[in-house]
């Protein structure tokens, strides 16, 4: 099972390809500046980045049988980002994706900016920040770090697949309503393989070389506010992604009510804010995703208010 994330030339509108080149250049520029600020350590970091690029290439040979002649293999974005840091990891992935495009024509040269943006910036930089955010939210213990890496590795593949489809859709070379579910559906399993391999690799390193793991894992204590913010972002992202797979079929009670013929006796609610998880002006998946995010915010608001009420009563 091979991910379809390396966009070849000819599939993106030139304006889209150039815009993504600019966006990628800005982010990679910031990453290079951050690496350069490390002073004398930057040279040894560059050597490690070069060897890590070779490692990513070689590690992609490690496939594992899934079923009936298909196999999954590592992409390595979150793994590289976690081990080297998000900025260095994104530069390593940019280098690897560039060499893949040049050497193996795996992805186009004009589309290289888009491919680096999807896999190196969103997948690696974003994925590693999510992994660290989750680890910090749950207390930076080894288990929470591995959990964070697993979730982030899965999300990185899904996000890269989602962004790839959206870019193709905006370029007019695919229909997003068909392409997005198809791409995300395929990459659910690929992402799962990526998550399992990444977690196993980090776990192995944590046991075999605890000093490298300790250097990679974030140790700074996180403030409660940052924890809540990280939890909020993760929940909102998960709800948005999950909404793409929301079924349009009626729920259990509605189905029974329809089958037994008493659905017509139901009465409308006195007020309807987002009837059937839809937002006025937003059709389809976008509306459902937005309704999910609003739901998360409302739940958070209720919890915060209840917490304040409980604290006030406790104080009095």
């Amino acid at each position: 099972m091979r991910p379809l994330l390396h966009i070849p030339d000819g599939f993106l509108a030139p304006q889209m390809a150039l815009a993504l080149w600019v966006a990628t250049a800005v982010v990679i520029g910031i990453a290079l500046r951050r690496i350069g600020q490390r002073g004398p350590a930057a040279a040894s970091q560059t050597i490690l980045m070069g060897l890590s690029g070779a490692f990513i290439f070689a590690a992609q040979m490690f496939n594992f049988p899934v079923a009936a002649g298909t196999s999954g293999h590592l992409l390595g974005g979150v793994l590289a980002g976690f081990l080297l840091g998000p900025w260095a990891g994104s530069v390593v992935m940019a280098t690897v994706i560039g060499i893949q495009a040049l050497l193996f024509q795996d992805g186009g040269l004009l589309a290289l900016g888009a491919n680096i943006f999807n896999m190196g910036v969103i997948g690696t930089l974003g994925g590693t920040l999510v992994a660290r955010g989750i680890a910090a939210t749950f207390g930076n213990a080894r288990r929470s770090t591995l959990f964070g890496v697993g979730v982030a590795a899965w999300l990185s593949v899904m996000a890269a697949a989602g962004f790839t489809t959206l870019q193709l859709g905006l370029s007019g070379t695919t229909d997003v309503s068909i392409g997005l579910p198809a791409m995300l559906g395929t990459h659910v399993l690929i992402g799962l393989g990526e998550a399992l391999i990444s977690v196993a690799a980090i776990s192995f390193i944590a046991v075999s070389a605890p000093e490298i793991f300790a250097k990679s894992a974030p140790t700074a204590p996180t403030s409660p506010r940052r924890r809540v913010a990280a939890g909020l972002i993760i929940t909102a992202a998960t709800v948005s992604l999950a909404s793409l797979f929301a079924s349009t079929s009626p729920d259990g009670l509605e189905k029974v009510a329809t089958d037994l013929g008493f659905i017509t006796t139901s009465q409308a609610a006195p007020f309807e804010l987002f009837a059937d998880y839809s937002i006025p002006g937003f059709d389809g998946v976008a509306g459902t995703a937005l309704a999910g995010v609003i739901g998360v915010l409302v739940v958070l608001l209720v919890i915060v208010l209840l917490n304040r009420l409980a604290s006030a009563r406790k104080g009095s």
Binding site: D9, T46, L48
Partner: protein
């Protein structure tokens, strides 16, 4: 004096490849005559580089799986219908506009892949990295890419030996294919992850040794890997030709008939 192939200046070729691919990307949809002419020119350049046109054409099919992304457009766009009917129990229609978008994307990617293939055929990757550094690619990326290229075969060799060891230790049950050996899927993923973790530790150790060796030789700061040894004296002529090719492709796209 003969230059080592890894030291050749590929700047002109890189600019030519990028401008050609940009020119192809800018061609309007349905310019099949222009596509054919551009492919003839690319195939001629390929033949001059020692690539048989058919081999080059086959190599261009590497992007074929990605055309699946554009395939639904043929059936779901309702404009310019060229066929409509029943296929079994399903109603199907083929849109001329959707077919044009699909063919345009497929042909453009097919030709662009061949352009990239010729570039790598003519210049080894070390030479391309050196030329990119000369074209102001940041040092960290150029050095990183140089090291990646230099050590990729070594680490792939390590990975091959680890895979061979995994196979040697995994008995294949009678009547089962080798794809099914081992335990559950999470168990197989764990073993694969362990291999990846072990390989990273080897790469990490190798990076330490490379740094020690570089320090022992008096290197400080940049390793300047992938530097260009001798610039091409005909660079400006090659870039001018590349610009000429870009203009010719764009003009052909604007002037020649479209379907």
């Amino acid at each position: 004096m003969l230059q080592r192939s890894s030291q050749r200046d590929a700047r002109g070729a890189i600019v030519a490849a990028l401008l050609t691919i940009l020119g192809i990307a800018l061609l309007p949809a349905g310019s099949y005559v222009t596509y054919a002419l551009v492919w003839l020119a690319v195939a001629t350049a390929g033949a001059a580089s020692g690539y048989a046109p058919l081999t080059l054409a086959r190599r261009g099919l590497i992007a074929l799986p990605f055309t699946l992304a554009a395939l639904p457009l043929i059936f779901i766009r309702g404009d310019e219908l060229i066929w409509s009917g029943a296929l079994g129990s399903a109603q199907l229609s083929i849109s001329g506009a959707g077919l044009r978008i699909f063919l345009t994307a497929a042909v453009k990617s097919w030709i662009s892949v061949q352009v990239g293939t010729i570039l790598v055929r003519r210049y080894p990757i070390e030479s391309i990295v050196g030329s990119l550094r000369a074209l102001k690619l940041p040092d960290a990326i150029a050095t990183g890419a140089g090291l990646t290229v230099r050590y990729v075969e070594l680490l792939r060799g390590e990975a091959s030996r680890m895979l061979r060891a995994r196979s040697a230790r995994s008995a294949s049950p009678v009547g089962e294919t080798r794809e099914r050996i081992g335990g559950t899927i999470p168990w197989r993923a764990k073993v694969t992850g362990n291999l990846a973790g072990a390989l990273f530790l080897r790469a990490y150790a190798r990076a330490g040794r490379v740094e020690e060796a570089a320090t022992a030789r008096g290197a400080s700061g940049s390793l300047s890997l992938g530097s260009l040894i001798q610039p091409d004296a005909r660079l400006f002529m090659k870039v001018a030709l590349a610009i000429g090719a870009f203009v010719a492709i764009t003009a052909a796209g604007a002037l020649l008939p479209r379907v």
